[in-house]
């Protein structure tokens, strides 16, 4: 599956989408769900929680393992994708539409430090070898 070029990526396999209203949407990548296998449990952060960049803020568990989700940038949680909790398999179906939470960034400069699709693709390919 090709890596969407309109998103940014963290080394810990989260994707980040900048929205028109200034918030960002966060999810885990297709590559991450592929490594984990069928997802069976999701724990989301509370709305209003203030996160630092790289802070553990959600849990994604598959049939195989539990994985921490880290906040790609600092900010306040403005929304979470609650229906996902009852249907974690949506992440396997389409990782880039099954978002986890939205943030209001506190330091937009952090966005520039994230990878673009080309750089993330390289990271994934290097991991595979």
């Amino acid at each position: 599956m090709s890596i969407p070029t309109h998103l940014k990526y963290s080394k810990s396999h989260e994707w980040v989408k900048s929205e028109a209203d200034g918030t960002v949407t966060v999810g885990i990548t297709h590559h991450a769900q592929e490594l984990l296998g069928d997802m069976v449990f999701i724990e989301l952060p509370e709305v209003g929680r203030v996160l630092k960049q790289k802070e553990e803020c959600a849990v994604a568990e598959s049939v195989k393992a539990a994985a921490d989700v880290y906040s790609p940038i600092s900010g306040e949680v403005t929304a979470v994708n609650s229906p996902l909790v009852d249907e974690p398999g949506k992440i396997n179906e389409d990782a880039y539409s099954a978002w986890l939470f939205k943030l209001k960034p506190s330091n937009t400069a952090e966005l520039d430090g994230l990878m673009d699709a080309t750089a993330y693709n390289e990271l994934v390919e290097n991991e595979d070898h």
Binding site: G37, V40, A66, V85
Partner: protein, 363 residues
């Protein structure tokens, strides 16, 4: 270098996700572990279990050798083709392995042992053979492959594929087997569903696998095998028991025969054992996933208890998390215990396992 079963290339051709399983290159899943699990519960799935090892023991008085070697009593095997589940113990009653013994004739028994323990099992058997019955012939059969076909429609699909197998195996009860041409067909399994485990020459395994696939049997990997056996409440060697645990604290008292006069390795130690722990089932009440090695902790009647999950995971059939846990005998069925999951205390209900059998939830 990883070891490969005769079906290795076949799995790769079917786009299996391969993993290192105790030194064997094995299929984890062929796309979705959950789909494979449901296919076995509702229809039919097949597993390559050729990493497990059939060991043939031949000669005069094989039965007498096995009477002393294993904890269950082979005298229960009266009908040729009958199978018996047993533990093989150390003198201290630690579990060397759990295995299935097939009685083929008084001069030929076949034992199927786990992959990870195969080498030490054979070494132990040879050592005891040399001490007790040097004339017996013990042969590891790496020339054979093994395929488990499991699910409510598994037997019917096998009958479509193996000529003349229906008449020979239709009347088999659970834990009975028959030989049909080059196929050894046993009505056994590790999923809690009906089905067969079939042993055949390695060279014929790929064609047999493809014929089953053409008959509508879904390939299933080790991932689904693990969730199915956990739901079925079947122990996994190395996880739910090992050489530091005895059968009485591993939910396997029913496989130990202490009543007969016969002596066997580990009998004295077992008779002297005061049982302090037991294996119980857990169903998670709160949200989360139980995993092996999580701690069970709390208080009951003002007495602290602690235990450990030996196998935990998500039950696809129940759509919630379940586990096997080794806990003190003060814990009883129906209790609610705490499990420490990611620094949080989650509530779990203690149940009698199996959790699922023949497609039905029992807890």
């Amino acid at each position: 270098m990883l070891k490969m079963t005769p079906l290795n290339q076949t799995h790769r051709d079917m786009n299996a996700k391969m993993v290192d399983f105790g030194g064997w290159d094995m299929p984890l899943h062929y796309g979705s572990q959950l789909d494979e699990h449901h296919k076995v519960r509702q229809d039919a799935g097949m597993f390559d279990v050729s990493h497990m090892l059939p060991v043939d023991i031949k000669g005069d008085n094989v039965r007498d050798f096995l009477r002393r070697l294993v904890a269950n009593n082979v005298d229960k095997l009266t009908l040729p083709g009958k199978a018996l589940y047993s533990c093989m113990l150390t003198p201290q009653a630690g579990i060397i392995d759990d295995l299935i013994i097939y009685f083929l004739s008084e001069t030929w028994f076949r034992i199927v042992v786990n992959a990870g323990t195969a080498d030490k099992d054979v070494a132990w058997m040879l050592k005891k053979r040399d001490e007790w019955a040097p004339d017996l012939e013990i042969t590891p059969r790496r020339d054979l492959a093994m395929v488990a076909v499991q699910g409510p429609n598994a037997r019917a699909k096998v009958w479509q594929v193996i000529p003349n197998s229906q008449s020979a195996t239709e009347e088999l009860k659970q834990f009975q087997s028959a030989v049909v041409g080059q196929y050894f067909i046993a009505r056994t399994g590790y999923t809690g569903e009906d089905g067969f485990e079939i042993i055949l020459p390695a060279a014929d395994a790929p064609a047999f696998w493809k014929a089953l696939y053409a008959a509508g049997v879904a390939p299933a990997g080790l991932g689904a095998r693990d969730t199915l056996r956990l739901e079925a409440g079947m122990n996994l060697y190395g996880q739910d028991m090992d050489e530091t645990k005895n059968p009485l604290e591993s939910g396997l008292a029913w496989t130990v025969d202490l009543k007969s006069e016969r002596d066997f390795i580990g009998k004295q130690a077992l008779s002297d054992t005061v049982v302090t722990h037991q294996l119980v089932g857990l169903v998670l009440v709160d949200r989360g996933v139980l995993r092996s090695h999580q701690q069970v902790a709390g208080q009951k009647d003002d007495v602290e208890y602690s235990g450990e999950i030996t196998s935990g995971g998500f039950s696809p059939t129940m759509n919630q998390s379940i586990a096997l846990a080794r806990v003190p005998t003060q814990i009883t069925i129906g209790d609610e215990v705490n499990v420490i999951v990611r620094d949080k205390k989650l509530r779990a209900k203690v149940v009698k396992y199996p959790f699922v059998r023949n497609g039905k939830v029992l807890v």
